[in-house]
Amino acid sequence: MSKSFFDLFPPPVFLQMPFVGFSISDTSLRFVSLTKHEHTFVLGDYAEHPFKEGVVDAGFINQPEEIVAILKELKKKYSLQFIKITLPEEKAFVFRTQIPAVSPEEIRGSVEFTIEENAPLSVSEVVFDYMVVPTKNSSEDGKIDVVVSVVPQKVVDSYLKLCSEAGLFVVSCELESQAIARCIVRKDDISSYLILNLERNKTGFYITTGGAVQFTSTMVITPNNLSGLCDEISKIYWHTHGDKKGNVKISKILLSGEHAGHEGVREYIVSNLGIDVEVANVWENVFTLDTYVPDLSYKDSLSFAPAIGLALPFVSSQLS
């Protein structure tokens, strides 16, 4: 395979500022680093630190000193400096809206006007970003479809403070749903999927189209309550984002999270709802298992999806 100029003369590591993905959930802290190998990536360092009960509760950090100690330990052990972190889904608002067709420089200003209509927060109290969703009729009706992610400023600050106290430099913050979607949905796949993030004490429901998360909802439904899970899927699948709306037609349900690999979960949903369900491959955009097998088991890797999604290099051109 031919080598590019930068393969032969790579920029110095000091300038590349290599980063790792950190996922902070209610139950644990996980990190993953990917190492470039020829034209793909392979699994580098990874670690998981479970939290004691109550350290993080529904995305709210109760005991920051516990997390800072873990971050410091990981920083020292793995010589970490730059990191990407996930922000809690429960504290975020993700909505799809339309704004007037304006120049790219003016989109952010237009999006700002839509925040208070769609989230119970004032613009001055939030951190937001958006992604333009290409649609068939966008140029004709003079509107642009955007997916907006909004998180309260104090939530972002609390997570950034943890990292700065541990001596880590944050290069990016993403919602857990976005990191998971980037990890398990193939880069060039434009289909719509319902992603179920099955955690120990909650379940995240994310609808993604072309890798962009357009809807998120987090409910306190444990994987033990499979009937409740099916009811919620049914609501979202058929009534909220079904074929009736036209824009989003969910083609498949993807399971991720630490309980996604439990036996019977996939089969239960398939048999009850008759929908195509698949346990996600978290290495979808990293490498093929034909060429490289990581030393992390498939079942364990499902809980690392947000961290792997963060550790993937930035590829989108739609970032504002």
Partner: protein, 181 residues
């Protein structure tokens, strides 16, 4: 991909990257300078050694030049003195003195060698004096030389002290010739 990093942090990140870029460029610059110095060092050492040699040669040449200049000045002085004497003889000297000296030299026997001729001109009250110093082979040749001089009209009186005859051979003599020259 959406990035929910606050604007202030994004600015800080950009600044950090710019700082790193400056560090890399400066490191590259320093590396180039160090390598250049490494490559130029042998040339510098060689040129320094060569400079020292040339300076030493210059000092040596200057000393030689000074010595030559001193010699030249000494020679110049000698030449100047000779020129002055010749000029004096030409301009100031009496033609009769030359004739007397020619007479002495031309009539001198082969056994007599004259080392020096000293002339002191006379005036109205004193006679002129020529002092001859030389080496005679023996008493006979010295006596013969004295007699030959005495026969010449140019000389009024010839003084040859008796002490000149103390030795038989190789006699260093001094003879005073008086006359109106």
């Amino acid at each position: 991909m959406t990035n929910l990093l606050p604007h202030a942090h994004q600015v800080a990140l950009t600044k950090e990257y710019k700082h790193r870029r400056i560090v890399v460029l400066l490191s590259l610059f320093i590396f180039v300078i160090v390598v250049s110095i490494g490559f130029l060092l042998p040339s510098y050492i060689l040129s320094t050694v060569r400079l020292t040699e040339i300076q030493a040669q210059e000092v040596g040449a200057r000393k030689i030049n000074e010595v030559l200049q001193e010699d030249n000045s000494a020679s110049s002085v000698t030449l100047k003195e000779v020129s002055e004497k010749l000029l004096f003889i030409k301009t100031q000297g009496d033609s009769s003195v030359q004739a007397v000296i020619d007479l002495i030299i031309l009539n001198k026997p082969a056994d007599i060698k004259i080392k020096s001729i000293t002339y002191q001109s006379g005036d109205d009250s004193n006679e002129g004096t020529i002092v001859l110093e030389g080496l005679a082979k023996d008493r006979e040749s010295l006596t013969m030389f004295k007699n030959m001089i005495e026969t010449q009209d140019a000389f009024i009186r010839v003084d040859l002290p008796i002490s000149n005859f103390a030795k038989d051979k190789d006699i260093n003599f001094s003879m005073d010739l008086f006359g109106t020259f």
